[in-house]
Symmetry: C2
Subunit: 335 residues, 2 copies
């Protein structure tokens, strides 16, 4: 198989790439080539694998690559929520136009690629004057409150229509917020959900922009990658519909996250988080779904992480064993 | 006020233009200028009104016009369902790209235009393996089964996001199938719902591509124009949400339509309709919503046509009194 991962140099995309390379196959077929398209080159460990090629540059410049014929595509590349709110045009270009180019190019290749589109729980929000259903389900009417969520939703429907037309074999999976992410904070409004765990573990003080009662649905990187691969490998019948499905997530409050941090890493680590309200972030996050269900994903054998302690422990283990995690990521644990 | 109607030379757009000109005002303010943008020039009767200017050409060439500043916009221009199914790229250009240009240009004008986007009941359809709710409501999860319905839905969400950002004051109204339309059949799969009334009344034999049990939700042109103007004039609070609302429609079967035709025009007229199955049309129409409710539109004072006889009578009256109806439109009545 020849596989494309857009956004494959990013944290999640690279982890997905490593998992696919380690498995060596997808849906029972050997992966001969793994193509990574991203603004940036693929991480060094991926480039050492002879199956990997890396194409750095904006998606809008990669039409010829996308036309070259793929058996499978994981489309993860996206401008994130904070970026899209700050720059409306950038959001439309990076999300809508880039995905249009990808879908047009796959169709032009003449090969019907199986494609997983990484959508987001951010498609959900309360419509003006109406409460948001809690939990949100696979059949909740989306009413996104961000441009990012709007783009994801529009593209879910475009992917479904291209699938109906037989241009691709597409399926959209709504990712929950992924935590704990390594590295620096990014432009996503949800960035702090990782930051309040990552920074204290590294021995760095950090701020939390919302209060302890704010809750959200999270998934570990490992569980998220498992979800993407499972959705890719599932038959169309098993997917159970053309529309997007929710990936499973763990519903947890900021207070519970910090209690888990204290349990796993001790009170000194937890005390590195102080609260400093940020209205911009709070207003974005406050309009997101709280709890969610994932019946169709459950039927594919996917389940939420067991608890938030397990998510923190996965991060600590990743820091010790995986590429892409800074060597000082756990300095706060031994401090 | 300076008002723009895209698709304003079409049947519905021109009728909307005439209604606005006759009223002389919208939302309590005098209409000084009515700009009609359409592939074709505005009909002659509209061009005689000094308030009207007509700009013929593809929407994608009209960016400068759209940037010139409007108090209100009715966005009706669209490729129709049959065209979009036949030419996927044309559909995306005519619907998605053209509307993007319109919205970008309005935003660039610096004026916050009030905008009514003419969406469609075609956003609804059954997801794979699931039945379509009957009736569909304002809060039914859309699962369009046509590219046309997909584009309308994607644009509802883009209009909502542009409104959330304060670029426009947008609202989307889902039109029911409009009948009875004058003139020739068009590329819409729903075209026959008008044809089986219009052609017999003109004394012309015609075919019905589906059987008498097929039902659909229809609205007269007069009621549809009333709906568009009411949605335009409503306050944001009265609209009751950012998401699209259904316009009211009359749920009627082909059998009931033909019975009404016989009642209004006699058995000889009805007998000009014979049945000839068309799988392409039947498969599109069979996936559309049957009945629908319109609670939010009802709250604005909008209601469905009383019955199908009234819709036929409106058509007969229009043929006798309105511009744009051919002089031989009722030749079948007196034959």
């Amino acid at each position: 198989m020849r596989i494309l991962i857009t956004g494959g140099a990013g944290f999640l995309g690279a982890r997905l790439a490593r998992e696919i390379l380690q498995r060596g196959q997808l849906a029972g077929k050997t992966v001969q080539e793994l193509v990574i398209a991203d603004l940036f080159p693929a991480p060094p460990d991926l480039l050492t694998d002879p199956r990997v090629t890396s194409h750095a540059g904006a998606m809008l410049t990669q039409g010829d690559l996308f036309k070259s014929g793929f058996d499978g595509v994981f489309h993860l590349a996206s401008a994130v929520s904070g970026e899209c709110e700050a720059d409306f045009d950038l959001g439309l270009r990076s999300n809508l136009d880039s995905t249009r180019l990808l879908l047009d190019s796959l169709r032009a290749s003449g090969q019907v690629s199986r494609l997983v589109f990484a959508s987001s729980v951010a498609v959900f929000g309360p419509d003006l004057g109406l409460p948001l259903p809690n939990p949100v389900t696979d059949t909740t009417l989306p009413a996104p409150q961000t441009s990012y969520g709007t783009h994801k939703l529009m593209l879910e429907y475009l992917v479904a229509d291209c699938t109906r037309k037989g241009f691709i074999d597409g399926r959209s999976a709504r990712l929950m917020t992924v935590a704990v992410r390594p590295g620096k904070p990014n432009g996503a409004a949800s960035s702090f959900f990782s930051g309040i765990i990552r920074e204290p573990l590294a021995g760095v003080s950090t701020t939390c922009p919302v209060d302890t009662s704010v809750s959200h649905t999270l998934a570990s990187p490992g569980n998220t990658v498992r979800g993407l691969i499972t959705v890719f490998e599932a038959s169309r019948e098993a997917i159970g519909g053309r529309l997007a499905l929710n990936l499973p997530g763990l519903h947890v409050s900021v207070g519970e996250m910090l209690a888990a941090l204290e349990k796993v890493a001790g009170p000194a680590v937890r005390q590195r988080v102080r609260f400093e309200a940020d209205e911009r972030v709070a207003s974005i996050v406050g309009n997101w779904a709280k709890a969610s269900t994932a019946e169709r994903a459950n039927a594919l054998g996917l389940h939420a992480d067991e608890n938030f302690e397990a998510i923190i422990e996965q991060y600590i283990d990743d820091c010790r064993t995986r590429p892409g995690y800074p060597t000082n990521a756990l300095d706060g644990l031994t401090a």
